[in-house]
């Protein structure tokens, strides 16, 4: 059967993913609502399609894993906006580092306290703690401190999608005069998805967000053994 051939499957799910993403992008340009982002529309449409066609996640991700792998070169690509903002970064690197440290501590600490308050299991709590770091780092940290990397990946994505939207609201409310603070807010709170959103606000915000995301990731991976020892 043509339907069951693996090439057709890979092509079908890849094209469907890209098509829903493009549709979401087009819709967002027209509607400009927080719920019209491709990060909500595309996954929801794909989940519906997967349920209708009885596709499991394991099969789906096998066909579309190459798209996720492109996050690697996307990270490399951040060298360009970071390079463009080198003057700003050279001047304020200490401030950005302080923001990243304060943000990471808040992320881990607040999840620790809130999970206890809500009575969540230890494995859920440990899987949720690294969720403010971008995916590859977060999964490494999660494994080190005794969480479940797969679950962490989900929490990271949910944090990114909700955080990017939340960040847009916060930027309007908080009296932030510097693009530096706006960028750090997105890069620390909503990693990759937030960085993409920050780029929509401005080039300065976007590159600061990208830099903070990378800083936070590296710093947390380095800190994970210490954290594992403390937990």
């Amino acid at each position: 059967m043509v339907w069951n051939s693996s090439i057709f499957q890979a092509l079908f799910w890849s094209v469907a993913t890209i098509a829903f993403y493009q549709m979401g992008k087009g819709l967002h340009v027209r509607l400009r609502q927080w719920w019209s982002t491709p990060m909500l529309i595309a996954p929801i449409s794909l989940v519906c399609l997967a349920i209708v066609l009885h596709e499991s996640y394991r099969d789906y991700i096998r066909q579309t894993h190459w798209l996720v792998a492109l996050l690697g070169p996307a990270t490399v690509a951040f060298a360009v906006p970071v390079w463009e903002q080198r003057a700003l970064i050279r001047r304020h690197w200490a401030v950005l580092l302080a923001g990243a440290a304060a943000g990471s501590a808040t992320a881990m600490g607040s999840v620790w306290v809130l999970s206890a308050a809500f009575g969540l299991s230890d494995s859920l709590r440990l899987s949720m703690m690294p969720r403010s770091i971008s995916t590859p780092f977060a999964m490494t940290v999660s494994a080190q401190i005794g969480g479940i990397p797969d679950l962490t990946a989900i929490f990271v994505i949910v944090t990114g999608v909700l955080g990017a939207t939340l960040g847009e609201a916060l930027v309007q409310v908080l009296p932030l005069r510097s693009g530096l603070a706006r960028g750090a807010l997105f890069g620390m709170g909503a990693h990759g998805v937030g960085v993409a959103r920050a780029l929509g606000i401005g080039r300065e915000e976007g590159s600061v967000a990208g830099l903070v995301m990378v800083l936070v990731g590296v710093a947390n991976v380095l800190a994970a053994p210490v954290l594992a020892y403390l937990l």
Binding site: I18, P43, G103, S110, G163, L174, L180, A181
Partner: protein, 140 residues
């Protein structure tokens, strides 16, 4: 001589062609992945690639014009690369109930807190640095 000619042509086409630049970014990524594997450090290959590209840009060995358009494409379409990972929820029906709501509540409140703290720290530091700069200018 012909070798030099090839180099010049290669550089010129790299500057004008976005597809080639996308390829260049991919090459840096592959080198980064290789390094990550060889060293065995728990740092993603993309970060290695980024550091290599940054140092090449800083040393002037590689011009920004040769990667800018390709890099911008990757950055602009980055959201697409996250989407397949979201479908992991298909495997976790436990999040459809109360636990899911609790997790959602924790993620939203913790993320708001993280963003607030980070932004306030950076904004405060920014203002301190800026006023220190202004003061030193005032003395001069």
């Amino acid at each position: 001589m012909p070798l030099r000619k090839i180099a010049v042509t290669a550089r010129r086409s790299l500057r004008s062609n976005r597809l080639l630049q996308i390829g260049a970014v991919l090459v840096f990524w592959l080198i980064g992945e290789g390094l990550a594997r060889v060293t065995g450090w728990p740092i993603p290959g993309g970060i290695f690639g980024m550091v290599i590209l940054l140092s090449l840009l800083a040393s002037g060995a590689f011009s920004q014009a040769s990667v800018r358009r390709g890099a911008n494409w990757f950055v602009a379409e980055m959201l697409l690369f996250f989407i397949p990972a979201v479908l992991a929820v298909l495997d976790h029906h436990e999040f459809l109930g109360v636990v899911g709501l609790k997790v959602l509540a924790i993620i939203v409140s913790s993320t708001a807190l993280v963003m607030g703290v980070t932004a306030v720290v950076v904004e405060f530091g920014f203002r301190v640095v800026c006023s220190a700069k202004e003061d030193s200018h005032g003395v001069e």
